[in-house]
Symmetry: C2
Subunit: 459 residues, 2 copies
């Protein structure tokens, strides 16, 4: 098997340029899931990756319809029932590239500059999908896959994987596996291979404030009617106290405290104030000073208005204003409980001069996985084989709905990692992929296939 | 002259339908001045009204270029030097009709339903321009105009008449007149002909708050960096105290107090809480309770954020957020002084975790005119001749830059009135014109031409 592993690593090396050329093609499809208008691009992206998986080759590849965007499924089960089965997760949809004028290049015309490849989706998540494809292909063409492999590439990650739960329920048998490898989380630094054992959950909703029954001339009514923009601003301003803590009633009650060991590990990570300042470009950090920034991102909940809109014209008090609120949840908060807390807070704080309602409330809980699972250990050995050092373990501030859904519906854990870097600007303008890191990732994934087949203990 | 007056009133009656058909044509041109893309429509509207003025007939009609949108000028000076000269002011530009889906009909395809004509600009200001044109035409074709008449119809009222000052300076002689008749203000009720003796001024600017150097993933940075939307909300929320008073330092110091007589007149107007609630559709009124709502609108300054924007996506902390602030000024506040107050307030209140700046700061002061001027008295008699009751006198909460500019540059006062009603939804969706009131307005303007020629005292 060590010969096969070496052959596969060589294959991956030789095939690097071809795979990157394919990635550029994949990135050229603007498969934004937030916009219904992009259905055609969603379909093209699904077909593109299905066709690529077929050529791995896989034994079976399907584009499976859902109530929303299709899921691309593929499998190669030749290793037989005694071998472990890993399912690679990915998503072919991308975040909107707006605002377009903040990009140096067209987000869908990938540009390579030095070691970086710039495009929407380069890191999140098309580059990661292609790393998995490249590794599996390398093993498949070097004596055959040592383990059973499945791929589940969805098209709604950026909109909360809304159709995934029913897809999972409908295809339990097809999707059965020992665990999921999810490379959608990234790493803490170029030289810091990372395994994440936690993700934040998410609750989101739209808060609408309605004032006058129609837009009013601000000359005739300025100083007489409550401006819905002002009322909304007061409400948003009132969601945090002066120390940056969320004031919803009972908000922190079910938050699982960080253990001393977790705090010690986090303190050892290269995620100090300076690194966050550098990554964000803000003049100073902000937030609950009882916790270090790295702890606030990974282990504490956060509330953000990510979009706010009200008014269109210079001379009118608008009839309504709206804020899109997101709350990143940590164990053991639930979306239902923060929803109830928000409603309770609004009931006692919305002024009687306006009307309000919440719309599009949805969410999923945070997740935590076992750092001692065999899949985690195999991945740790694989990362060490390439980077020459063991990975660090961290809880991510991000949220991936699929992880909780897979746990809930199929009972399988996800091993979380990735080869995107903190400065890759995922979700922002000029998203990029660091190509040398990506290549190391492909190699680590090749190792991973063989490490799973032959755990260190049995060697 | 009484024969001529009767003949002119008859002429206006007979010509009513033809004039309204022309108004419908005029309203069909979407001459929105806020959008540079509408330059072609601005030009079409200017040409349309110039051609209509020529056919009054006027002795001279010109479309005069400015740095911005052209001004349409016309004159008929046959009454001779001993006769008074009145200049009719109007504006052929309109407010944007956004949000379009709030309209029951296309805003630029006028629809008549019962007594109402629905279209953007029906009341503000194309209907008023056509009332002036109809009255002048009626007199011109009934024995000749008894006074000298000028028309100045600009195309930038809805964007603060930015090019008007230099136009006025460049054409002092052409524009010389005894006073200006400005029908852009309206009336307080169908049976309440109104002369306004004051207008609020305006200061406006964009407040930009900048946080991270680019949009940040809200999972990675939520709880660590100050969200510019939150910072902006806090600032906006902090611009008023709990009683609805503006907290800028010294904001009310130069506000000229309402006299007891003014407060008594305002109290007698049919503008009680109930009427404002009905007009606005809000659940309750809001504002400084030391003043009645009618006093707050007419005689007190007001600050409104009329547009606020930040963020585009569900999963990102935006790099910036922006609010368009407008402050309605009263005598003797100046735009420069409130600008300085705002800067001073922001300097001490913007948190150090974000950066800020003000853009597009501009404004003009409020104006007050003499209630005993001959033009006011002639208009009062004309309104009484049609409505059977003397007009009420009021200070408008609205702002017309041209009024202050005409005072400053040419030294002429404006007599302010109009035939739009409080429920005409000017600047809002489903703007309309009440046709029977408009017809009464045309008749009052016919009277006005003869009342100016032969003041009551000399009859």
């Amino acid at each position: 098997m060590e010969d096969a592993r070496r052959e596969a690593l060589d294959y991956a090396d030789r095939n690097r340029e071809a795979t990157l050329a394919q990635l550029v093609e994949f990135l050229g499809i603007p498969s934004v899931s937030q916009r219904p208008a992009d259905r055609e691009n969603i379909r093209r992206a699904a077909e593109w990756i299905a066709s690529r998986l077929e050529s791995v080759p896989t034994a079976r590849t399907e584009i499976v319809s859902t109530d929303g965007n299709p899921v691309v499924y593929a499998e190669s089960l030749e290793a037989g029932e005694s071998a472990p089965t890993v399912m690679f997760y990915g998503h072919y949809d991308v975040q909107s590239a707006a605002p377009l004028d903040a990009w140096d290049n067209d987000p869908y015309e990938p540009v390579t500059s030095g070691d970086e490849l710039y495009a929407r989706g380069a890191s999140d998540n098309k580059g990661m999908i292609m790393a998995c494809v490249a590794a599996v292909e390398a093993a498949a063409r070097s004596g055959g896959l040592p383990i059973n492999v499945k791929f589940m590439i969805e098209g709604e990650e950026e909109i909360g994987s809304v159709s995934l739960p029913s897809f999972l329920s409908a295809h339990r048998e097809m999707l059965s596996c020992d665990f999921v490898l999810n490379p959608d989380v990234g790493m803490l630094g170029k030289e810091l291979p990372t395994i994440f054992y936690g993700l934040r959950g998410m609750f989101s909703c739209r808060l609408k404030i309605r004032g006058p029954s129609q837009d009013l001339h601000s000359g005739g009514f300025g100083g007489i009617v409550r401006n819905p923009i002002h009322a909304l601003c007061e409400l948003v301003a009132g969601l945090h106290d002066d120390e940056g803590r969320v004031v919803l009633p009972g908000f922190y009650e079910s938050v699982r405290p960080l253990t001393d060991e977790e705090r010690a590990v986090m303190a050892s990570l290269p995620l100090d104030e300076e690194s966050y300042l550098r990554q964000s470009g803000v003049p100073e950090l902000w937030g609950d000073s009882d916790f270090a920034p790295v702890e606030r991102a990974g282990g504490r909940p956060a509330l953000d208005v990510v979009c706010m809109e009200g008014g269109t014209r210079k001379a009118a008090i608008p009839s309504e204003a709206e804020a899109l609120l997101t709350i990143r949840l940590v164990p053991d908060q639930t979306p239902a409980e923060v929803h109830a807390q928000l409603v309770s807070h609004l009931k006692s704080h919305v002024p009687s001069s306006v009307r309000w309602n919440l719309e599009d409330c949805e969410g999923f809980p945070a997740s935590i996985t076992d750092r001692d699972a065999p899949g985690v250990k195999a991945l740790a050995r694989s990362l060490e084989a390439v980077w020459g050092r063991p990975p660090v373990y961290h809880r991510s501030g991000g949220s991936i709905a699929a992880v909780g859904q897979l746990q809930e519906t199929l009972g399988v854990d996800s091993v979380l990692t990735g080869f995107s870097l903190p400065d890759d600007r995922i979700h922002g303008p000029n998203e990029k992929l660091h190509l040398p890191t990506w290549s190391r990732g492909v190699k680590a994934l090749v190792h991973f296939l063989y490490e799973l087949a032959e755990p260190a203990a049995s060697r």
